[in-house]
């Protein structure tokens, strides 16, 4: 606790991409100077440009840079940063890192190392929640690194089973296994991913629930024992166990269930001695029963939809809690309004198994208008490196009700232009426009059931426009340099006469 109750003189943001940008903005608004850290692949990244100072912490592979604790701590020392905001992913839920910060007198903007190691260990936290009377999914009560042990456990639980990384999050290393034959290679693959992503290869097994909804509750806890929840987010639209569309409120909850789940979320936070912002994730089965899934001990990717509906700035609250402030509101002060939806824009090719699509962003145009927010980590001309999670940005909308929000999202996505890399934008347009989405039939198998195999639909009009634009562009490029050699008649193009490319009878 020695790092608490102090002003945040300067905050080091130990992350990259849109979330680093989000945190830097919150610090700037609070008058707190910021330090960005970056790998050598990210020297021109947006977060580096936005921070007051920036320190290179190593080569591109995450273990040598964004997961490199020594390097990050030394960057904090060198720049005089008194606090570290970990963002999401990377070191955000790493208890050793939080403990190291505590030892070094650095204020880790998140829960204590002790609470982190409890909730960060998915298996230990399942035990804690079960003891606190919160329902959990049947599965292993201990984790392991020995693939041989899992066969017996899987038989006991009964196939299909889900392999999960004990230190995991974001679906990394998560795999569904339907038979004993697939188990060993799947466990090995999961352990490789877990080891690479979290520095801990331990995995465990859980009963796989078919087609549940994923409903989570945002919580905020100060260091004085006050805990509130900020209602739910439904995040059932997932590919590879990773959310791509989130919304609040959930169409699946009535007020009674909402109240019960909110209470369970607050109880879960209290049971784990947790402080700062966090999320309690539940699965909601088809019969309306909910099960504790895990606590995400960090800011979530999808936090903006809660911000838009509750009016609470969660990153600002994180900073206040880290300064030792008491929450300035109680549970009944939190009033929700309207409906919010978020779409995650990934650099992936949805027509090709969501294959990552790294490279250069040749052009970006961001969406705008009332009720539209774009949390963005890229710019025209930036490189999307192969080394990191392919999230580029998030389009978030708010409107009075779900249907209005859905239409606003469709409009915002149609304004979102990202050229040069493949993105999930066209796929998301089809998800949001889908009648089953409109009907609220959002379960975790939504994409497999309604969307795959997916192919981008290009109508004739779109093709005509694209071909014409490309031809005009080619025509324009074939113009010889000014004062250059003699033009051939073909090159004397009418498309370039008058005002630029303007043609037609004016």
């Amino acid at each position: 606790m020695k790092a608490k109750k102090r002003k945040l003189k300067k905050v080091l943001v130990a992350n990259r991409g849109e979330i680093a940008v989000r945190v830097i903005r919150a610090c700037r608004e609070a008058g707190i100077p910021t330090v960005a850290v970056y790998s050598s692949a990210d020297s021109r990244a947006l977060h580096v440009q936005m921070a007051d100072q920036a320190v290179c912490i190593g080569p591109p592979p995450p273990v040598e840079s964004y997961l490199n604790v020594d390097s990050i701590v030394s960057a904090a020392r060198k720049t005089g940063a008194a606090a570290i905001h970990p963002g999401y992913g990377f070191l955000s839920e790493n208890a050793q890192f939080a403990a190291r910060c505590e030892r070094e007198g650095l204020n880790f903007i998140g829960p204590s190392a002790e609470a982190l190691s409890l909730v960060g260990d998915k298996v230990a936290s399942r035990r804690t929640m079960s003891k606190a009377g919160i329902p959990i999914i049947p599965g292993m009560r201990s984790k392991g690194k020995d693939p041989g042990r899992f066969a017996a456990e899987a038989e006991k639980i009964g196939y299909p089973v889900l392999i999960k990384a004990s230190a995991g999050g974001g679906g990394k290393g998560m795999m569904v296994v339907h038979s004993a034959k697939e188990l060993r290679p799947a466990v090995e693959a999961s352990m490789r991913v877990a080891g690479g992503a979290f520095g801990d290869a331990s995995v465990y097994l859980e009963k796989y629930l078919p087609a549940p909804r994923h409903v989570e509750f945002q919580v905020l806890a100060d260091t004085h024992g006050n805990v509130v929840h900020l209602y739910e987010r439904e995040c059932s639209i997932q590919r590879r166990h990773q959310k791509i569309v989130e919304e609040t409120p959930s169409v699946a909850l009535d007020e009674k269930l909402r109240a019960r789940m909110g209470e369970a979320a607050v109880a879960a936070v209290k049971a784990s001695g947790y402080s700062n912002a966090g999320t309690v994730e539940f699965l909601l089965d088809q019969g309306g029963k909910f099960y504790f899934l895990e606590v995400n001990a960090r800011l979530q990717v999808e936090h903006p939809i809660t911000e838009l509906t509750t009016g609470v700035d969660l990153v600002r609250q994180q900073l206040l809690v880290a300064m030792g402030a008491k929450l300035s509101f109680g549970q009944k002060d939190i009033v929700r309004r309207g409906h919010a939806v978020e779409c995650r824009i990934y650099a992936e090719d949805p027509a090709n198994g969501f294959m990552p699509s790294s490279g250069r962003v040749a052009f970006l145009k961001e969406p705008g208008g009332p009720g539209v927010r774009h949390d963005c980590g890229i710019y025209s001309g930036c490189e999307v490196p192969v080394h990191y999670d392919p999230i580029l940005s998030k389009v978030i909308v708010w409107a009075e009700d779900r249907e209005a929000a859905r239409h606003r999202m469709l409009s915002a996505l149609s304004e979102t232009i990202i050229l040069g890399v493949r993105t999930t934008v066209p796929f998301l347009q089809d998800v949001i426009a889908h009648r089953e989405f409109a009907a609220g039939n959002t379960r975790t198998d939504f994409i497999e059931t309604y969307m795959l195999p997916w192919k981008e639909s290009v109508d004739e009009r779109m093709l005509d426009v694209a071909l014409t634009a490309a031809a005009i562009d080619s025509q324009n490029r074939s113009r010889p340099p000014a004062g250059g050699s003699t033009r051939s008649p073909e090159q004397l193009s009418p498309w370039q006469t008058g005002s630029g490319w303007r043609i037609g009878g004016e």
């Binding site: 294959m355 990552p356 040749a362 052009f363 192969v386 290009v458 005509d464 490309a470 031809a471 080619s474």
Partner: protein, 173 residues
Amino acid sequence: MAQTRSKSFQFIIDGATHGVTLIGDSGHGRVRIAGREFEIQALPVSPNCLSLRIGGRSTTVYLAGEGTRRFIGLAGRQLVLEESRGSSADPARRQAQASQAEGTLSSPMPGQVVKILVCEGDMVDKNQTVAIVEAMKMENELKASGRARVIKISAQDGDLVDAGEVIVELEAE
């Protein structure tokens, strides 16, 4: 008298070739695509943005490109067009064919080789995983398309590879 001029272009989209002809004189602009003809009016808004009136309807089109490749964005969607110059088979298609050649397993994306699971001289079965490539934390398994012998391994665990780079060569039995 104004002389009507026209210029034709060919673009490849997803392997299919499309022809487009711009026709214009000082007073009119038209475009011809697959035998259909439209009146057009084009106004550059910025280097990456074109306001295009085609067949009586206006559209804002975004464009960027490098070399013969054009990225065209409209209404949140992106079309990637490869301009085909000259009569020889276009390079994009040749490359695509090469990478699908029988017995060649290449990386589907820029990434890192996680593990090569075979040795030169090994026999592999259909759908057997031969190598694993990872990018952006996603693992991709490269599988043999049929029973074959491993002829050559061109990468090692940990190597960074480009999209289309050959990793393992197989010879069908």
